[in-house]
Amino acid sequence: MAEEEFTVSSLTGVDMTVRIAGPGTRSYAFLTDWLLRLLLALAWLLAGSLLRLLPRIAADASLAHAVMVVAVILALATYFLYQPVLEVLMRGRTPGLRKAGARIATVEGTTPGTGALLIRNLLRLIDALPVFYVVGLTCCLLTKQRVRLGDMVAGTVLVLDEADSVQSLGRLSVQMQRTALPAEALQLIHDLLDRWRSLEEAQRTRLARELLAKLDPGFDPRRAEASSARALQGRLEALLAGKRGY
């Protein structure tokens, strides 16, 4: 059975949990990176082809050949070294992983070293077998921590990147200082606003009205603004910002 998170022991004795990214997140990140590196490699080839059209280069056959050889080498280097190089430079992240909201971590929850990142990339040779990462994906589906062979050997795990939520601590701090709303009420408003777009119009306006009726003394459900979703959303945001309510 796959796990959704794993526990990391800290020196202070307070354990932390890290959420594991599943095969969907992994595939999404890989495809995004694959598209990016393909485009970059094609850009090198296009640049090489365009340079060959320059009169000075076109006149010299050996120079034109050399330009194309360099373009091909750069394109291949970009295509094959994109992931290992970026993972090392961006400390376990690539543009694709960033977009998918994931990062590579060690099984201890730390940022992996260069050696581990290179090993996990090297093992792509096996994970990619026989075609389309069948070995890697199968391994990912069968293992508890959703890892492919490369991750197993390197001791890494693909985890959900919570770096953005670090900022949310700062925001929460500000909100909690401005408003007298209890933490649970703040959470309910946050939850509702986070899911605002995914909820149906009738459902979100009903939930918003019920919440505002309890939390905002100035809110009158009979007034016209109580029926407009936009107005309700604005009122909830104002509550969070401490401009209304208690």
């Binding site: 990391v8 800290s10 202070t12 004795g13 307070v14 932390m16 949990t17 890290v18 050889v69 080498i73 400390r91 971590a105 201890e108 929850g109 730390t110 940022t111 992996p112 070293g113 260069t114 050696g115 581990a116 290179l118 090993i119 090297l122 093992l123 040779l125 096996i126 062979l149 197993m152 050997v153 390197a154 001791g155 919570e162 770096a163 939520s165 670090v166 900022q167 949310s168 601590l169 700062g170 929460l172 701090s173 500000v174 909690m176 200082q177 209890p182 933490a183 649970e184 009420a185 703040l186 959470q187 309910l188 946050h190 939850d191």
Partner: protein
Amino acid sequence: MPVSADTEAPAAIWIRTQAPRWEALAAEAAAAPQRPHATVDEALHTLRTYRVLTQHLASARELLPASLLTAALQNACATLHAAINRAPRLTGAGWLRLFRDEIPAAAAAVRALALWLAALLAASALAGWWLINTYPDLVSLIASPRMIDGVEHGRLWTYQMLNLAPPALLSARIFSNNVIVILGAFCSGILVGLGAFYMIAYNGLLLGGLLAFAHQHGLELGLVKFTLAHGPVELSVMCLAAAAGTALGEAVIRPAHSTRTESLRRRAAQLAPLLLACVLLLLGCGLIEGFLSVRAAVSIPVRLAVGLGYWTLMLLWLGGRLIPRAKAQATAR
């Protein structure tokens, strides 16, 4: 979510007293991972922040379990945990240790396996020789029609390579081909060592078969002459990479630690430096092959000197005798 009167009071008091501190703590949690080099004061500040954050996390879990605040504190702690425990960047002393200690140690760990695989390479080369000598028609399985045609007309394919590409490009191509072979040998070792055995046996078979084919047309000396300068190190590196791969397979079959995954992970971390050494040695082989081996004019003694010299250098390095410890320590200072 029910808001009970019992939990509301202590939670509310705690939030009111602590909330002003979280903004600064969050700022430090966001800034610490971005610092490439932290001063001692910055590092101590980060550690203090981490300690305070974990205390707050423990309180939040007690007072407001499964809340947004607990999640935010937990993420801030995890971010700082990763930042505090991140591996140091490789400095000059680190590189020196890698080349002086870690690479020879990794080579020593697979020495016996490498010798066994060298024996397998020799045995499969003999088998290849016997096979092509006994059944000459089978050469079409291991050589392209162009190679066969060239040898049948008294020309070795090896010396034609220079006509097709300039030496630098040829070196790059040879290097990349060799790197793919050794990486393949290493990685396929994870398949309980069978992949590495296959790579070695296949390459030995090719070597022996092609030598036998050249011998049938009186060109064996030319082929030996061609491989003299780069061959010893290239073949040794292949055996080393395959031995490292086999050692990975061994970690799966006979785990030396609590789990197979842990065993595999530790073995890979131990052997990774050896792979770096293999790649660097192959870079030298590529240069020798592209600039020296393909030139028919280079005499046998020169090739022999280069081949033996490079091989000795490799043995000294992997044996841990190339960079003497005292001298190395003096350099590190």
